[in-house]
């Protein structure tokens, strides 16, 4: 794993490895001195082309707990209109010796461009790109769900996946990088996902995704659900005919007080309510739901630091091998030929 760009191409092995490492990292957060020396002398750049204080400080805390040097680079606005291109910015960071670039960008695919070009050689971490992906958000969500699911089953979190867990993701799937990253990662971890949204806020082509689709939140609750993930409704959607009014949206797709009570009535006593934040209280989630014991909103924030520590650690520590050998000759094949060669040329040191 050289970069963390998406969950779509994240293997089950690497996903669980990140989550397991995050469990170890979370223990650091509980200590009096919340710091490890793992990335001392390494430089992590937070390159943010879009405002996101929450994600930025989460990555900053993660890097600092690993003793990395952190540079925050706020390059807001379009690169063309601001004069400096992504290429020039990347080359500038490369010249400064960045080891990892954590990039948040309004344009889908911008992290892929950094990773695919020769502009910069650093590890690239996607901290949210346009309406494409937000892999560390999905990983922290999965981390939160896995702890909950393991506790319910009375098993250890480490090494586990989410097989059998029923997850509903509700809201503006069309424009949500959080939803996309969650759909792929939850599939990889074995959870059953249902997307619940108005038809206008589902992408054309969603029928090919590894999940169910519903237009009806109440039916989804009745079918049984273990985690409800409510997505933020962005302000710019409100007057663009995606739905008639915020009140109608809230009635049909918001997690309101009535639906909070419905969880109890349906016997879903262990169902958690998740939100990536920031929340629109009273729109996609009621205050009672957000503040209820079912809510994992603050745990998600806390877990975000652990997951980002794990990602940075695995990308920068060099210990990023897959479990199974993926390239080169297997050791069992290489050994005899080395032996044979050394018997004939042992006194003649080879220098290739």
């Amino acid at each position: 794993m050289k970069h963390l760009l998406s969950t779509e191409d994240l293997s089950s092995h690497n996903a669980i490895r990140i989550l397991d490492t995050a469990e170890e990292m979370s223990a650091v957060g509980d200590r009096e001195v919340k710091k490890l020396p793992a990335l001392r002398g390494r430089t992590v750049v937070n390159l943010f082309f879009e405002d996101s204080t929450r994600t930025r400080i989460s990555f900053e805390a993660a890097a600092k707990r690993l003793s990395a040097d952190v540079i925050n680079f706020a390059a807001k606005g379009s690169s063309v209109s601001k004069g400096e291109s992504l290429k020039d910015t990347a080359q500038t960071l490369a010249a400064m010796g960045a080891d990892a670039v954590v990039i948040r960008h309004w344009a889908s695919g911008a992290p892929h461009r950094l990773a695919a070009t020769d502009w910069i050689d650093a590890a690239v971490v996607n901290a949210g790109d346009g309406t494409h992906e937000h892999p560390t958000q999905a990983l922290l969500d999965a981390f939160t769900m896995r702890r909950h699911w393991s506790t319910l089953k009375g098993t250890a979190s480490t090494g586990a996946d989410l097989r059998g867990m029923r997850v509903a993701i509700v809201g503006d799937v069309l424009h949500s990088r959080v939803a996309r990253s969650n759909v792929w990662l939850l599939r990889t971890l074995g959870a059953e996902v249902t997307l619940v949204a108005p038809p206008t806020l589902l992408p054309i082509g969603v029928e090919h995704w590894p999940c169910k689709v519903s237009y009806n939140l109440d039916e989804t609750l009745e079918d049984g659900v273990d985690a409800m993930m409510m997505l933020r409704v962005q302000g710019e959607r409100m007057n663009a005919s995606f739905f008639p009014s915020t009140r109608e949206y809230s009635r049909r797709w918001g997690f309101d007080d009535a639906r909070l009570r419905a969880l109890d009535d349906l016997g879903l006593k262990d169902t958690i309510i998740m939100h990536p934040g920031p929340m629109n209280r009273g729109l996609e989630i009621s205050s009672a739901a957000a503040d209820s014991p079912r809510s994992t909103v603050l745990a998600q924030v806390r877990n975000g630091v652990s997951v980002r520590m794990a990602a940075l650690y695995l990308l920068l520590s060099g210990d990023t091998r897959e479990a199974a050998p993926t390239s080169g000759p297997a050791p069992s094949n290489a050994a005899p030929s080395n032996t044979a060669r050394s018997t004939t040329a042992h006194s003649n040191k080879e220098s290739n």
Partner: protein, 451 residues
């Protein structure tokens, strides 16, 4: 290598892919066609194994001059055209200033004649400044020295139905044609790629097929209503092919074009987020590609148009959403059409000549292009080696644009020679010298310097 008297004997070329025959070219025309021809004064070109075709005519080229000479000039673009096997190109109107007056189209026309690599036929804008509000002086452009017959706001759709109706009606006065860029603007606001399974995953704003098809459906009905001639630029969807097929069955006077890239590439390539694959209209699905090939083979789609759109590298070395739309195409068109249409058995070389030369010349009303390879006809023709294979390297092209989506791809077919008005602009696959119009300055025998 250039004979001063302009006499060439092409020996043993397969005419339109048929029997091997000789062609004697003299004084700008085909003097003789037959076997065992000889002429003492001729430069002999041995053409065994080569196919002789009429020079290709592009109905859709962006030469960028005036205004974006950092992207392409008439000189560089027409060199690329000659190397690609073209003897005429239609220069689209979205230059800066826009080609919406007689002055600008005459400028482009003059630049083309000064370059002398191919016949440059300016396309006039339909509306002033491509703004879609007021008709440009179409008659003045038609009457100018450039003799404009094709009008297009290409890049922008003439979406106002009344304006489109008026344009279609008005150009009847001088046998013009309106070439529509079919893209409903409201359905494509901020659109980045074909809307479908891939855009859903990539999180790029979708460009629905219906945005193209709804405009084509409206326009063929308008053309029927007012009895005008309509040309549809760069058709990209299976649905568009069906609508045009339906319109032709009803006798509506519509012609349509497809680009080489839409015959070969699909939106799966966008998964790389490499903006070299960003183009308008966008790359579509494999179902669309197959429908476009079938449509071109059965005549529903009349012509291949390159939509050659060079861009400076900084307009592609950026985020997908920031990148300019467009691909180069002049120097790969023949090979891509051979690969997708000829080698698949969908078309013969005679069909190739129809869709790359005869029909585009007819649409543009070019009387001396797209002619049969017969004695007495103007010598606008090319020699193609269909057995050759080559690997696309944008840095070796004559166009200034490095934005070829075929970079690194191995393709069949090379242009060995291009004859424009009887003069070899390309010989042995290399640029030779431009044609010099009578009475113009310049030495016709000066070999082109590398550029």
């Amino acid at each position: 290598m250039t004979a001063t008297n302009g006499t060439y004997l092409i020996r043993g070329a397969a005419i339109l892919g048929g029997e091997a025959e000789d062609l004697l070219i003299r004084d700008g025309s085909i003097a003789e066609r037959g076997t065992g021809l000889s002429a003492d004064d001729a430069t002999v070109i041995e053409a065994a194994g080569l196919v002789a075709l009429p020079g290709m005519v592009d109905v859709h080229t962006h030469l960028r001059e005036p205004g974006r000479e950092d992207a392409e000039t008439v000189e560089t673009g027409t060199r690329a055209a000659a190397l690609g096997g073209f003897t005429a190109v239609h220069a689209m109107a979205n230059s800066n200033p826009v080609a919406d007056t007689a002055g600008v189209v005459e400028q482009v026309h003059s630049l083309g004649r000064a370059s002398g690599w191919v016949d440059v036929r300016p396309v006039g804008a339909v509306t002033v400044g491509l703004a879609g509000e007021q008709l440009a002086e179409l008659g003045a452009m038609a009457d100018s020295r450039a003799q404009v017959r094709m009008f297009s706001d290409d890049g922008i759709c003439v979406h106002d139905p009344v304006l489109m109706r008026r344009a279609l009606e008005y150009v009847k006065a001088f046998d013009g044609v309106v070439a529509q860029h079919a893209q409903e603007p409201r359905l494509t606001a901020g659109a980045q790629m074909n809307e479908g399974a891939v855009s859903a995953v990539l999180g790029l704003t979708g460009w629905p097929a219906v945005a193209e098809e709804s405009i084509i459906a409206r326009d063929v009905l308008l053309a029927q209503h007012v009895g005008s001639r309509l040309h549809v630029c760069h058709v990209s969807t299976a649905g568009s092919v069906e609508i045009i097929r339906w319109a032709k069955e009803r006798g509506i006077n519509v012609t349509a074009e497809v680009t080489p890239h839409h015959l070969l590439l699909t939106d799966e390539l966008v998964r790389s987020y490499d903006p070299v694959f960003k183009v308008n209209p966008p790359l579509r699905t494999n179902d669309d590609v197959q429908a476009l090939r079938a449509g071109l083979a059965d005549g529903t789609i009349d012509v291949v148009g390159t939509d050659h759109a060079p861009h400076p590298s900084e307009h592609k070395e950026c985020e997908w959403a920031q990148a300019a739309m467009g691909m180069t195409g002049l120097e790969t068109a023949l090979s891509v059409v051979q690969e997708t249409m000829v080698e698949t058995g969908l078309m013969t070389w005679a069909d190739f000549a129809r869709v790359t030369s005869t029909s585009p010349a007819a649409i543009g009303r070019l009387t001396d292009q797209g002619r049969p390879l017969e004695a007495g006809e103007p010598a606008n023709l090319i020699l193609v080696d269909p057995a050759a294979r080559w690997t696309v390297d944008p840095h070796k092209m004559a166009t200034m644009g490095r934005n070829s989506p075929f970079k690194g791809k191995e393709l069949p077919g090379t242009v060995v020679a291009t004859f424009f008005k009887g003069h070899p602009t390309v010989l042995d696959g290399q640029l030779n010298t431009p044609y010099r119009y009578p009475g113009t300055a310049g030495n016709g025998n000066t070999r082109a310097s590398g550029n």
